[in-house]
Symmetry: C2
Subunit: 684 residues, 2 copies
């Protein structure tokens, strides 16, 4: 079974409100997919912005944790930063291997699943899904933080701004990937350029003896007294916070299918370019912050002399920019704008990765099939909407607090890093066994791959352990809860689809020739919709056609019988009493009695049904027929035929469309439909 | 057309979750309705509690307004109270006439509609609907106020308590009227008894020179300086607030059909009993409050010496009871409990009146037919739920503030009073014309009726003018907005039903013999549900049966074609390409082409559909078939046949019910249903 599932009523392809067309654009044919692929210069902003934007918060979080121990601890920061850079290099090289070995875009998920088994794959997928959500949350929170650093008056609307940006990103992405990339390429390159200019300017000024000095350099820091163990823990915590610089490196490996050909080569080049720029910016920013004496505190009230009640603590980026270019300068605002923009772009990365992973999971039967349905614009709309809603929820729950969100973030990232690298180790070992008798060049390549990925696996596992130890009580436990829960859900979904598949696959059990075909037309009051249903039922030439009135009121039953005779209806009318004002049960009982007498029969129950033009009309009609249909479909050998009666209101809106043109129903509104009244049950 | 409409899925008669059975009780047959009728002793607590409970707040509001002018103004209170009593007598006598003339329970609505025309009737109905909502809100707010007066610690949960009581009342009422009356009779009689005992005790003590003194007698009152005009306005305001004692008098006239036979006589007797008791209690309580020197301020901070920040101002009832029996005495708590209980009973009155009026409006086509559907327990469940939700909303919006709610309340009450009485005047004048040649005794009776109702109309119109002038800026404008809005809605609904009726009534236009009957079976993947649909379609012996696959993916289309041949399916398969991943539009186009070639044909589209056992399973199946059905039903001459495929999960829950017993589906759960996948549209 491979059912493709459309999403909710708002995003499917068979109906398309005008508002949607304006927001999202004209629908595209499936063939237009190839035209949506990305050249490198466009792929970089899309897939690398996550990793690059990490430098907006990674140095800040690293220095912030060290500062908990007092300003003296800042002396450790070059070493901690160097460790982060070393790890970043290893991870970039590891992913370079992974892209080549698994270019299908499954990334860590596919690697883990193929090499470590279903469960590891599911765990990685769960970790990645959580990561994507947190990527959006962290990036948007940091972006808003940088906007507020430039415009402190906006502090009161922090959460509202964050949620607003998430909604904006959803809309941009529902338009499709290429248009988004065009609009988003400029800020990324502006960010890279302006931050590098700032780093060079600052360091040159420092070399010339005119070092930029941050405002916060004047504030002393209230430090905790730390035991020796606590000192080590603090340094490890600073390291693991700095590792947030690595987040997003995996995005390229998950996005390979969106690259232009040659996909693997292009993706690898983009990955290495991205890694180099990230290292340059991370090291440069950390160094410049140290030179400028930035004191960024987790709790700004620990800064002696800083009015933490009234003022907003600017982000590290804002402090460095203000120190280098001056707080009110044009360049300061450019840096802040570019930083905020690239962070929002990073959030955008997740809107490429999450739906792609979701579709892969749906294809493999681990997620609802709806995630594998492309919307009008060829993007996986459902995945985007789920991601956006989840991220908005996280932002609201954690009030867009960056540090808290980063605690959650790193865990999931390193779970998938570690399992992905472990899978690659296994992959190379299998390759080496297969290559046992091949040329030494190929074997050397495989050995190099094994070495790199083994190094990557070791490092990332060590970091995962450190992160777990140092972050668990700081909120990471939530992720430790979410990943297994998601994993179990995915395994459950998989089992469900397998069972259904087993149940409905064609086999020798299938036979044709259902017998004793009877039509039952449900009659409330004798009105035109009922007459139409009778006409249609007779046209189908069933073996027998019976009209049935379920009588909850003797008066109404008599009226129907009288009308039936008066209009000389061409089918017999049967009245069934229903003292409990039920409809489905007496009908089911009648069917059972009929079968007991006449043998097994296929029953087709005709239900007249109103089609209305406005949503509010549904409130004025009943839902009884719909409920009768639901109940009767539980009885074996019963099928339901809905005979529509188009009220004038529906005609006014949709016109008489007996000859619709191809695609003409795309422009129309989806009709709401009520159901034709069955009968009257007033007794009062 | 007189379709009876069931309500939402929770309250209909064809499905009944177990929780509902426990909360609401076993369903009753329609014949059991007569057994639910009320004897007088039971009718009194149900229909009179509204009017009687008014004495819990009417004296308080009357004295409170006068106190705005200072304690000296309390001297006016006996005169103002006397005016209220006089009005009450006139109104009771007027309604006595109304009950006799219009015993069907339409009350003011029916009188106004019959005598003053459709518009007046609709306005009265709107006013009454608003009144019922505010009866619930005011009564519950006052009940909670009296509970808090006895237990001040509950002050923090005022709104929560109020909403909780509304929910409780909804549940009690959904069980049906008689059981509710049994449970509710005791507190009413306890209230009447205990308050009368208190009044007698207090006045006897006063006569003996040992007058009860209220705590608040010690507090001086900050008064406003008033001009002469303001003095008159203040007295008029106090009068109109005191008129809240009249609210609820109309309840009996709206509830006549719920009385035992002879309905009119019993209802009239109950009305007069109720009026006498109300007058006794209103006058007694006002007098006792004056004797005890109760100072009840609109803003308790205007009481000099009262710590308005920390303490809660007890209700007038609580102050009088504390003065008479002592604040911690058992009798004090009995009075407070009985007062709170009777106020909740008054809220309950509205749960009899609103649904009855709703059903009358629905019967006349002014409200959704759903309001005229009796639930399992023979009560109009939908009306009850709407009323409860509206009252809870009002309580939340106005934070359960009694005085604000009473401002809103009185307007609506006097709008319906006035129009009802005016209608009665017209009624008697017509009667007198008809009786022009009858016996003088009958004419005398009619003259007496005319006199009484003319007096009632004059008084109530005068009060309405006073109330409007004095309360408009105090919130009553909201009601002046709500009544016309509701009236317009009702007229719109009426017009809608009339148009639909016109559209679907049988006429000469009806003819039989639809021709060219074609079955189209929609095929996604060839699986058992599709095979079943083909089998059923063939069994119906349509002129032609065609299987159609809408191809959004060439691979999937090929697979279906291969399977089709492999299993030698007994119907031809047609593949239609759909580059925009649409389903309904290409099918509609095919139907149009087919008709262009073969002439007009009736099309039956077969859609296989999953029936699942759990709500969450619907998330794992698509809703495409449902949407295709909605779209195709807009095409003329197309009907939809849903072929259910019961997944094992549904079997586990519902069992194989090929032979359901009568009513056996009442105990089951309503099935949720997903739809069989149509096809796979992955292209990625």
């Amino acid at each position: 079974m491979s059912p493709a599932v459309t999403d909710n009523a708002r995003t499917g392809s068979d109906e398309t409100p005008i508002a949607k067309r304006i927001l999202i654009g004209e629908p595209l044919t499936s063939e237009e997919l190839e035209g949506q692929l990305l050249p490198k210069r466009m792929a970089l902003p899309i897939f690398a912005s996550d990793a690059l934007s990490s430098v907006a918060y990674a140095p800040q979080e690293l220095l912030m944790i060290l500062l908990l121990g007092g300003t003296a601890f800042l002396a450790f920061s070059p070493w901690v930063a160097a460790a982060v850079v070393a790890l970043l290099i290893v991870v970039v090289l590891s992913y370079r291997q992974l892209i080549k070995a698994y270019p299908s875009g499954g990334g860590d998920y596919e690697v883990a699943r193929t090499n470590l088994g279903e469960r590891a794959g599911v765990v990685v997928a769960a970790a990645l899904l959580v990561d994507y959500i947190l990527t959006v949350a962290v990036s948007v929170a940091s972006g808003v933080d940088n906007i507020i650093s430039a415009l402190p008056a906006l502090d009161a609307w922090r959460v509202e701004l964050a949620v607003g940006f998430v909604v904006l990103i959803i809309l941009v992405n529902l338009r499709g990937v290429r248009e988004a990339s065009t609009a988003f390429a400029i800020p990324t390159y502006l960010f890279i350029g302006s931050v590098l200019v700032m780093i060079v300017t600052g360091l040159v000024r420092w070399a010339l003896g005119d070092a930029p000095i941050a405002d916060s350099a004047q504030y002393a820091v209230q430090a905790e007294d730390l035991s020796q163990v606590a000192v080590i823990l603090l340094i490890l915590r600073a390291f693991s916070s700095g590792c947030s610089a690595l987040t997003g490196v995996e995005a390229v490996s998950n996005g390979v299918p969106a690259f232009r050909r040659p996909k693997v080569r292009n993706a690898q080049t983009t990955l290495v370019m991205m890694g180099s720029i990230a290292i340059l910016m991370f090291a440069g920013l950390t160094m410049l912050a140290l030179v400028a004496g930035v004191h960024y505190a987790e709790d700004p009230c620990h800064l002696v002399g800083f009015d933490c009640a009234a003022a907003v603590q600017p982000s590290l980026m804002a402090q460095v920019a203000a120190a280098t270019f001056g707080g009110g300068s044009v360049l300061f605002f450019i840096i802040q704008a570019a930083t905020a923009a690239v962070l929002l772009l990073a959030a955008n990365t997740a809107f490429n990765g999450f739906p792609l992973l979701g579709s892969v999971l749906a294809r493999d039967g681990y997620a609802p099939k709806a995630l594998n349905t492309r919307g009008d614009r060829l993007v996986y709309s459902n995945g985007m909407i789920i991601l956006g809603l989840a991220a908005a929820l996280v932002l609201i729950v954690f009030q867009a607090r960056l540090t808290t969100l980063i605690q959650l973030y790193i865990i999931g990232v390193f779970v998938s890093f570690s399992l992905g690298q472990l899978g690659m180790v296994k992959h190379w070992r299998r390759e080496l066994r297969l290559l046992a008798r091949s040329k030494s060049a190929e074997r050397r390549g495989a050995y190099a791959g094994l070495l790199i990925n083994a190094l990557g696996a070791t490092f990332t596992i060590v970091v995962l352990v450190i992160v777990t130890i140092t972050k668990f009580t700081h909120g990471a436990w939530l992720v430790f809860l979410a990943i297994p829960v998601l994993s179990f859900l995915m395994i459950g979904v998989h089992r469900y689809y397998r069972d259904v598949e087993h149940e409905i696959t064609m086999d020798d059990d299938v036979h044709f020739g259902a017998s004793g075909d009877v039509a039952i037309v449900l009659v409330g009051t004798l009105q035109k919709p009922v007459a139409k249903a009778i006409d249609y039922a007779l046209a189908a030439k069933h073996d027998k056609t019976i009209a049935v009135h379920i009588a909850v009121s003797a008066d109404a039953a008599r009226a129907v019988q009288d009308d039936w005779e008066f209009y000389r209806m061409p089918a017999p009318l049967l009245v069934i009493e229903s003292p409990y004002r039920q409809y489905a049960a007496p009908l089911a009982q009648f069917i059972a009695q009929y079968r007991a007498k006449h043998g097994p029969s296929l029953m087709t129950v005709y239900l007249p049904q109103y089609i209305v033009g406005h949503w509010w009309e549904t409130m004025l009609h009943n839902r009884r027929a719909r409920r009768i249909a639901q109940q009767l479909m539980l009885v074996h050998g019963v099928q339901i035929t809905l005979v529509p009666w188009l009220l004038d209101s529906s005609e006014l809106i949709y016109g008489r469309r007996s000859r619709p043109l191809p695609g003409d129903d795309r422009a129309g509104r989806i009709p709401t439909y009520g159901l034709v009244s069955h009968t009257d049950d007033e007794q009062g």
